[in-house]
Amino acid sequence: MSTVLQPAGAGNRRRIWRNAGTILGAGIVGFITFVAIFAPWLAPYDPFTIDLGRRVIPPMWMEGGTPANILGTDQLGRDYLSRLIYGARVSMIIGVATIITSGIIGTFLGVMGGFYGGRVDDAVMFAITARLSIPVVLVALAVAGLLGTSFTLVILVLGLLLWDRFAVVARSTTMQIRNLDYVAAARCAGCSPMTVLLKEVLPNIATHLAVVATLEMALAILLEAALSFLGLGVPPPLPSWGLMISEAKEYMFFSPWVIMIPGIALFILVLGVNLLGDALRDMLGTDLSR
């Protein structure tokens, strides 16, 4: 039997299911991006204003809550909703800036390796292997410990550490494309390697890189939160969700909502980015999962 026939119903059901995931993912990411961009207009209070008289007020639907602070206040009396809204900015900026940095590094290395092959490729493969053997969290923490914490440092460190998957994917897709007839034709027609790379290779691997970008963005957001949680990421008083969880830790046994709220926000954002990545991958029909 050469052809395996699929029952028509299963395919449709799968498509509907995937569409639901795509819409959910796009909705989450779109909403959080919107919140991040318009934070100053959306936030009811200034996220940095401390009011020690109004500390750890629970969200309005809980006992002791007040409509003045919809999600309550933190241990310094700052409005939790406002901090959460500004926290979206931190996560989104770090996520996007990290994948831009790591995307440039990884794509450059991967394309070079895949396009030129031979020794260049050996060197790129070696760089990838060496990079993978370095424990990311530990090195990021060590660097932050040495150089002091700052917003840009987090981006830089994560950007310099998370390029491996970009390189792997860029390399293998470039290799495939390099051997296609039309690219070979362009090379034969006397186009310079640079022209071929920019005009033929990059546009064709861009879609694959977009899938990697979503996966890496999700990872970068989680790592930033973890670093901030350990006190070596974004410095206070910036409202990073990871930092909010860290600061709220002391109160979690008495009022668990203090860690639930930023944690759920973080979880939803990462889930949304991953859903978007899955949707993108399905659209492209490529399987990069590992």
């Binding site: 060496a130 350990l230 969880i245």
Partner: protein, 305 residues
Amino acid sequence: MLHFLRRRLPVAIRVALTVLTLSFLLTRLSGDLAISIAGPNASQEDIELIRSAYGLDRPLWVQYFDWLWRALQGDFGDSYFFKTRVARLIMERMPITMTLGLCGLFIALCVALPLGILAAVRENTWVDRSVLMVALIGQAMPSFWLGLILMVVLGLNLGWLPISGTGSWEHYVMPSIVLSFSAIPSLMRLTRSGMIEALASDYIRTARAKGLSRLSILVKHGFRNAAIPVVAIAAVQLGFMLGGSIVIETVFALHGVGYLAWESISKNDFPVVQAVVLVLALIYIGLTLLSDLLNAVLDPRLRSA
């Protein structure tokens, strides 16, 4: 097999040397290590004293080769804070991290393998979709946050497990569960896709044509082949998990290597930080080598190659 090792070992050794160099450079990132060690309140004399005491006044390449030579002999110097040999500190803490890593991996496999197989057998049904949903959720769960929630629920509210510390086996339960979450999604997806591929293969049709039992078809013939990449990746995952255990050990105050590294980072104890980075990287390199070996052992087609 020997041939295989002969090909892989040189690469592994070169990577190890690169990592050695990188972990040396890591501590020199700040420009002047002596200032970092002395701390913000130190006087100029203190800094000079530290500089000569730790040999930081020598040219960089002398320091490098001195450090490299010692590191190759397993001598990572003395801890500034704990005042003992770094190697001894790590040796003391390593069993805890290893236990955590292995328990985490064990839990991850116990969850990922059956669910992955189940999803593959029931491909495109609600069972499959639920399993994929679990993978997505696991991927999106911040590990430190999950740790805190477990502490509140299992530790405080239900009182089943100790909240933090290193004392008994019970102290490992929550950290292991949290750590396993980082490996479950990828192992589960890999098991699922491997099983789907295996179940669609001609040899499964042969196995059915031979009238074998369902269990034998699924496990002996299907999973045996799907397991090859899973086992290989599991070894690599263990490496990632050991590297990631720093967050979890810190959350649960489990005094393993990760906790040691975190303590050392906050106390500017650079020889320890440097050594932990190096040791974890070397373990990872060893595990990738092991992964390749496992691959070759499990896949008869690679065995003879």
